[in-house]
Amino acid sequence: MARKTSLLDQCLTPKAEIPTALKFTVSAVTWVAVIGVWSILTYGGFMQDIFLPSPTQVTDAFFRLLDDGTLGQHIWASVQVVVTGFVISSIVAVPLGLLMGTFKVVQAALEPLVNFIRYLPVTSFVPLFILWIGIGIEQRIMVIIFGTFFQQLVMIADVSRSVPKDLLNASYTLGASRRDALLHVLTPAALPGIIDTLRVTMGWAWTYLVVAELVAASSGLGYISMKAMRGFQVDVIFLAIAIIGLLGLLTDLVFRLFRMRLVAWAN
């Protein structure tokens, strides 16, 4: 007898696929629910707008800042800081992480130190960075680097450690040198994991933005939200947060597309 699994069954089975239409519907429902609750709380007068601005107040703030041209400026300033910090950090962390996961000597040399540093609170280094490198954009970039680099290093090392040893062994029995094995086996094998790590740590880099622009900044999304805080402009704070979130989402999407294109073999 042919039995058709019901939609409910599909939803309740661990790891079972669900129809695409349902997936999008459910995602949309979540957003509608969040915005709905927000609307009820604000338009319904349950919360005062000095604590929680209404959706229209936030969109008003958006158009206000867009019109006077400052919003674009702040977004650009923040994007510069996050992207520069992230790129510098990644350029060093990816090869070094691969070496750390591949060569026990490098691991022994770096791991204890890195594991110590990566639990240090970034915030407490801000005054030191200001002392050492001043209050320019370099200081903000430094905060992003400090926040992401050590995490990246550890995650990339794990990625490279998880490459099966027999993959390297197979290459040796085919005549590969150690250099070949590193370049033509370990690196491509680690690529999907590297891209995933970059995607996740890019998200973290965005979360460090406000810390980076906490002090001594004169532009940026973190800066306007700090400034808005002092003027009790809750709508601007919300706007800044929302834009940071959207930019994060956008970079996440870019990395996902990048992964689908570049390492289609892994999907």
């Binding site: 062994n169 197979a170 029995t173 085919l174 005549g175 590969a176 073999w265 892994a266 999907n267």
Partner: protein
Amino acid sequence: MSVAVAPKTGPYPAQPEPAGPHLSIKDVRLEYKARTGKSVLAIDRISIEVPDNEFAVIVGPSGCGKSSLLYLVAGLAEPTEGHILLDGTEVNGPGADRGMVFQSYTLFPWLTVRENVEFGLKRRKVPAEERERIVSQYLNDTGLAAFHDAYPKQLSGGMMQRVAIARALANDPRILLMDEPFGALDSQTRTSMQKLLLKVWEQHQKTVLFVTHDIDEAILLGDRIYVMTARPGRLKEEIVVPIPRPRSLDMVMEPEFIAVKRRILELLKNEIKDDEH
């Protein structure tokens, strides 16, 4: 002829090699040192001579050190004592002259079937046209021509091991090492792979050292079977298989086949009994 490398530790110095090209495993012992400081004796003084152009098979119970022995011959591990010589030269690290098909799937997932088979040729800087010719030949020989652009993810287990065999053969190794290459396959696929391997081997006559725990497979494929004891692995008996080639799968019913099988079963049965005491 001289032995290239100084004798390793232990009371078994290199002996002068008898003439003639072949693989020679001499008094090899392998001890694994665990992190805890305890050590496991995996192989205890094995000596095997594999004549050229023979299909040699190692059978033995699971955990008796078969894979370890192949890793030693491949140069992927070092014996604690003893020597492994190929054509009189001591094995010193892995190399393209000893191709290997692994028990686990070891295709490079980012390369297509064709690129996987080409991998060794590229490392050895074989010119492009020659690579093209060799790869096509082995893809045809192993029945993979239609799949040459597929990625390993898209292949079944049997197909992946076919590619692994083609990849090793395309590199034209001096000897082909195979570690239970069909161990993870269902019995139908396994049978068709044995058929394929028989065909390919009878065509190329490359020296093979093949590991299995499947007795039928050992007899069907092998010219010579080395039966190993349970751990620590020792050589229990060497059996020359008196079945003519070309071989076919029907031969499993023939009296010679059954006689060899009975002999091996007996040897291994004793092995399991030994183990229980």
